[in-house]
């Protein structure tokens, strides 16, 4: 199998509602792919289907073992009695049989992962006391310690501060440079266009799949967001998309969870 991940004619239904409709794509090794689409487009469902956590039709093939996964931050029990080091170490649990103790190598891998995401100095802090961005970095460290070829990141930038945002972005770029395959869902269109090798626009089905140069267009973005997105143009002539809040208030809390670029981002290179 040359590809790191192959998804073929994947469909998911929830109580008669089609959440994903015949989705197919392949991811080669060493590629960072942005998964974009409005809330309810099926991004998290696609991750759960790839991980075998929801019933689906079609095929999912992964090179090697099951991918590693960083879920959205609000899905974990943040008040669980554990430090950042404990959470990172959870990434090593699958590497040992139930009767085996974790080795020094396991603890070293967790410590190194925390250093990679810039959280080594907070290793002894209780997870519950960390900020949202710090928690997200610790969860990313857990995925690094898990040490898999394919890594799925479900909105890793949501609700994070700028320091954590930079640390997460640097870590993801490093993973790609190390030959890992990263599939990352995000609401930040301009950031995805800047950092990803390829963008997959999803709205229950794949709207468009290709490099930012061909997919980051007003037509594609507005088709994916069903008209609820607009394109803005930077002073340098480049363009980027933002979510139109007026359209999304009817659908829930897109604004609250999204990090659509503000007008300040005109200054970004």
């Amino acid at each position: 199998m040359d590809n790191a991940l192959e998804v073929e004619r994947l469909s998911v239904d929830f109580a008669g509602h089609r959440a994903l409709d015949i989705v197919s794509f392949t991811l080669p090794p060493g590629q960072l792919v942005g998964l974009l689409g409005p809330n309810g487009a099926g991004k998290s469902t696609l991750f759960r289907a790839i991980l075998g956590q929801v019933e689906h039709t079609g095929a999912v093939r992964v090179s090697g073992e099951i991918p590693s996964y960083v879920p959205q931050g609000d899905t974990v029990a943040a008040d669980f009695p554990a430090t950042a080091a404990d959470v990172a170490t959870m990434g090593r649990f699958g590497h040992r049989r139930w009767w085996q103790r974790l080795s020094r190598d396991d603890h070293a891998a967790a410590t190194a992962a925390l250093e990679t995401v810039g959280m080594a100095e907070h290793a002894g802090c209780t997870f519950a006391t960390l900020s949202g961005g710090q928690r997200q970095r610790v969860m990313l460290a857990r995925a690094l310690a898990h040490d898999k070829q394919v890594i799925l990141l479900d909105e890793p930038m949501t609700g994070v501060d700028s320091v954590s945002r930079d640390a997460i972005a640097a870590t993801i770029a490093r993973l790609r440079d190390d030959g890992r395959t990263v599939l990352m869902s995000t609401h930040d269109l301009s950031d995805a266009a800047r950092s990803c090798d390829r963008l997959i626009f999803l709205n229950r089905r794949i709207i468009h799949d290709g490099p930012p140069a061909t997919t980051f267009t007003p037509e594609v973005i507005q088709a994916a967001y069903e008209g609820a997105a607009v394109m803005l143009t930077r002073p340098d002539g480049g363009s980027f998309g933002v979510l139109d809040d007026a359209h999304h208030h009817d659908h829930g809390s897109v604004h609250g969870h999204s990090h659509a670029p503000s007008h300040e981002e005109h200054h970004h290179p």
Binding site: I66, A77, F80, P81, A82, G91, F93, H107, A120, G124
Partner: protein
């Protein structure tokens, strides 16, 4: 010194004290996962749903404990299945199973009785009636539950913190939940006939809740929970003996008092932590 040793001179009282200590330790251990995963109401349910099994077993001339165990295992499966459903909330599902099975037990009790054995002790406990055989069974049950929890420690940690990631490392959250419910059910059945259902609920919840107030990591939570369970048991035991008060109630009140002290001490402990140099990585013991 005699004040401390005097209660243990009587075999009857000493056996009651040992039974309480075993339940204190058992409750302190499994109570951590009960509290962390919000299963307190499930413990209460188990204490009642064991009743129809005990009644049927008595009517058939079998073991009350085995009948109770069978009933709680059925309850565990029913609750685990109900918890998977999105159409009914967990507490509503537990309420349905809990009240339904207890009602079945009440009807069986009135229609199949009267019995020549007293099975009401299965509900309310018979602390002073604990004999050597009861203590052996309690000890064996506690050891089995403790060993199973140790074997399942990583799946339990993963599914308690992040079920989505747990499945990525090969853990099946549904099966882990079922296993934990089964262990909680076994703990309740082996403890309830010695100490009664109120004390079982108290010992499986309050010490662990006390530990959660004071600790930041799971190993420490277990240690403080067991210590709180044993301390509450000893305090309640001695107060009960010298004040001639109901033993179960004394133990429960001692546990509640420890929890209140922990709640009052918590701000001081947090202040101490913030003053201390923190941030050093500590290896997990999982």
């Amino acid at each position: 010194m005699s004040l401390i040793t005097e209660p243990w001179q009587s075999g009857l009282v000493a056996r009651a004290g040992v039974a309480l200590l075993i339940v204190g330790i058992l409750g302190g251990v499994i109570g951590v996962f009960v509290v962390v995963r919000g299963l307190s109401f499930t413990v209460e349910a188990f204490a009642h749903t064991a009743f129809p099994g005990a009644v049927l077993a008595t009517a058939a001339g079998g073991s009350i404990v085995l009948g109770g165990l069978a009933a709680v295992l059925v309850t565990a499966v029913a609750i685990a299945l109900a918890m998977r459903s999105d159409r009914i909330s967990d507490d509503a599902a537990i309420s349905v199973v809990f009240t339904g099975l207890f009602a079945v037990g009440a009807i069986l009790f009135t229609t199949l009785g009267p019995f020549d054995r007293d099975i009401t002790s299965f509900l309310f406990g018979s602390l002073l009636g604990a004999d050597r055989r009861d203590l052996v069974m309690l000890s064996a049950g506690a050891l089995v539950v403790g060993a199973a929890l140790w074997a399942l420690r990583r799946p339990l940690i993963l599914t308690s913190f992040d079920p989505a990631f747990a499945s990525v490392v090969g853990t099946r959250p549904g099966r882990v939940q079922l296993a934990l419910l089964g262990l909680v059910g076994v703990s309740v059945v082996i403890a309830v006939q010695a100490v009664g259902n109120m004390l079982v609920l108290a010992m499986l919840v309050i010490p662990a809740a006390t530990a959660r107030l004071l600790t930041r990591r799971l190993p420490a939570t277990f240690a403080v929970s067991v210590a709180a369970g044993v301390l509450a048991t000893l305090i309640g035991f001695y107060v009960s003996y010298y004040a001639s008060a109901a033993t179960g109630a004394c133990v429960v009140l001692a546990a509640v008092a420890l929890l209140l002290i922990a709640a009052l001490a918590r701000p001081l402990i947090r202040r101490g932590r913030s003053v201390a140099v923190g941030g050093a990585a500590a290896p997990t013991s999982a």
